[in-house]
């Protein structure tokens, strides 16, 4: 059912954990659907004065409550987003996530969508914070 890459990320997820000093935090999903993803972003210090879109994601961490595909999707998404600017990272599609995982079973496509939404949510929350500064 799952590709070897999905299983590998499931067993040994990348960038898993929390980040007490994160610049941006976003959480998506809910207990009803069964998958909850929380994403932590740290931007490169030298980009401090750049517009949000140009900031480089220097570090990224995730926490996920969910199935194997949900864990693997968030894990690979953090790999894909790390080192990218916010504008580049927001262009990551669910298809790229699924492809990078060597494919996802059809009922699990929503996990890859949720992973992109987690990133969008974290950026959105960050924008809210800085607009209030």
């Amino acid at each position: 059912m799952y590709s070897p890459i999905v299983l590998e990320h499931f067993k040994n997820p990348h960038n898993q954990g929390n980040m007490p000093d994160a610049d941006a935090v976003g959480q998506v999903g809910n207990p009803v659907c069964g998958d909850i993803m929380k994403l932590y972003l740290k931007f490169r210090a030298e980009d401090k004065d750049k517009p949000v879109a140009e900031k480089v994601i220097e570090d990224i961490k995730f926490e996920t409550l969910g199935c194997g595909a949900a864990i693997a999707s968030t894990s690979i998404m953090t790999d894909l987003a790390k080192g990218k600017t916010v504008a580049e990272a927001l262009k990551i599609t669910r298809q790229e996530i699924a492809d990078a995982l060597g494919g996802l079973p059809a009922p699990k496509i929503h996990c890859s969508i949720l992973a992109t939404e987690a990133l969008e949510k974290a950026i959105e929350e960050y924008k809210k914070i800085i607009s209030n500064l």
Binding site: Y2, L7, F10, K11, P13, Q16, N18, Q27, P31, V32, C33, G34, D35, I36, M37, K38, E63, T64, L65, G66, C67, G68, A69, A70, I71, P107, K108, H110
Partner: protein, 420 residues
């Protein structure tokens, strides 16, 4: 080490079952319906298997209908009952005809909200065709209340279908009590004055209620004597009782109003056309015969041990169902803060097979309809794990399950966001 803890999904074929089946593939291959010696040799084996099934259920051999499995048996029981009493649902003449006083134009079926899809989807299909269906909800511990069934009975009720043992949580339903209820209602209907003065002897205008039970998960463990249970129709599956897949039985009590749902030859007393599958029939007969010598006590002790040890080793567990009123092989627990499919997958990578009611394993986004019917929260349903034990399982295997599961649960709890 591979460990199989999913016996409610399917069981291995017992070697003693396989052995008696084998000659009927290539050596004794005759069609049981043929008059010549090849056919008669096969028919003899079918007759013997039918007798074994009849002995097991305490019924006559003519009341045993072999089908392709329990799904077909459930379909035949439900659709066949509707086809008989509602002429507009079928085209041929073996059931009641339009104008017959006992014919029902708007039949009503009572079933439960946590049936197997073979029953549930058949009822939903009929609903689209105008049949009324009541889905009785179980109590939170997974037991159907007889009073709740009684409340749903209407004048146009033609069938009550309640599973004997729930496949996910293992709870045993009060089949005998529901059988008594149906009998009581039917007696009242038979003894009341006919509503039309035109009705003479013979056919009355009373609609009698048929009682069906899907006994797939009960067969290994519970009293299966059909007259003691008071059932008219009962479905059994071969592959849940250490027999082969692709074979089932519908018990049909003599005189039950039932009509074939597929068309063809005269096999199975006209109720189930199709060439008799001799090897599989021989297999299910043998599997049924072996049940009386199986060691349920051993399985029960294993379940007690596993549940005790799980609670010692993993915090925040909740038992789903009813500990007292469930079959020995089933342990369904919810692990808080962990998603079921992740546990299933983690265990599978270590060679341990279990099952879950989480949405993420079902192909849909909804968790198990059984767990939801108990009024359980989504979180609890998503975190459910079903361990179904079988005869070959050992204490050491239970220890191994805990050894693997404990760190997995810790890992997943650590991985989850803390504020949920």
């Amino acid at each position: 080490m591979k460990i199989y803890f999913d016996h409610s999904a399917t069981t291995p074929v017992d070697k003693r079952v396989l052995e008696v089946m084998l000659p009927y593939f290539s050596e004794k291959f005759g069609n049981p319906s043929s008059v010549h010696s090849f056919g008669q040799e096969a028919m003899k084996a079918v007759d013997e298997a039918r007798q074994k099934a009849a002995d097991f259920l305490g019924c006559a051999p003519e009341e045993i209908i072999f089908t392709s499995g329990a799904t077909e048996a459930d379909n035949l029981a439900i659709l066949g009952t509707v086809n008989f009493v509602t002429p507009s649902f079928s085209s041929d003449k073996s059931g009641l005809k339009a104008g017959d006083t006992a014919a029902v134009t708007n039949p009503h079926i009572i079933t439960t909200a946590f049936e197997h899809p073979a029953v549930l989807e058949t009822c939903k299909h009929l609903e689209k065709k105008g049949v009324e269906v009541s889905y009785v909800k179980p109590n939170t511990d997974g037991i159907i209340s007889v009073a709740d069934i009684e409340k749903e009975i209407r004048d146009n009720t033609i069938l009550v279908s309640v599973m004997y043992v729930n496949n996910e949580i293992g709870t045993i339903q009060p089949i005998r009590e529901i059988g008594e209820l149906v009998k009581k209602i039917n007696t009242e209907r038979m003894t009341r004055e006919p509503s039309s003065p035109d009705i003479r002897q013979g056919r009355r205008d009373d609609i009698l209620i048929g009682f069906h039970t899907d006994a797939v998960q009960a067969t290994l463990y519970e009293n299966m004597n059909v007259s003691e249970l008071g059932v008219d129709l009962m479905s059994i599956s071969g592959h849940k009782i250490y027999g082969p897949k692709g074979i089932g039985i519908l018990y049909v009590k003599k005189g039950t109003k039932l009509k074939n749902i597929q068309h063809g030859g005269h096999h199975e007393f006209g109720l189930r056309p199709g060439t008799l599958n001799t090897p599989l029939i021989v297999g299910i007969g043998q599997a049924l015969e072996l049940i009386k010598n199986r060691d349920n006590e051993k399985i029960k002790n294993l379940r007690d041990y596993l549940w005790t040890e799980l609670q010692k080793n993993i915090s925040d567990l909740k038992l789903n169902g009813n500990w007292e009123k469930s079959v020995p092989g089933n342990l369904n627990v919810s692990v808080s803060g962990v998603e079921g499919e992740a546990m299933l997958l983690g265990l599978d990578l270590e060679g341990i097979a279990v099952s879950t009611g989480s949405a993420c394993s079902s192909g849909s986004l909804e968790p198990s309809h059984v767990l939801m019917a108990l009024g359980m929260s989504h979180e609890q349903a998503h975190g459910s794990l079903r361990v179904t034990l079988g005869e070959e399982n050992t204490k050491e295997e239970c220890d191994q399950l805990i050894k693997i599961l404990k760190p997995l649960v810790e890992k997943f709890r650590n991985m989850a966001p803390k504020n949920v």
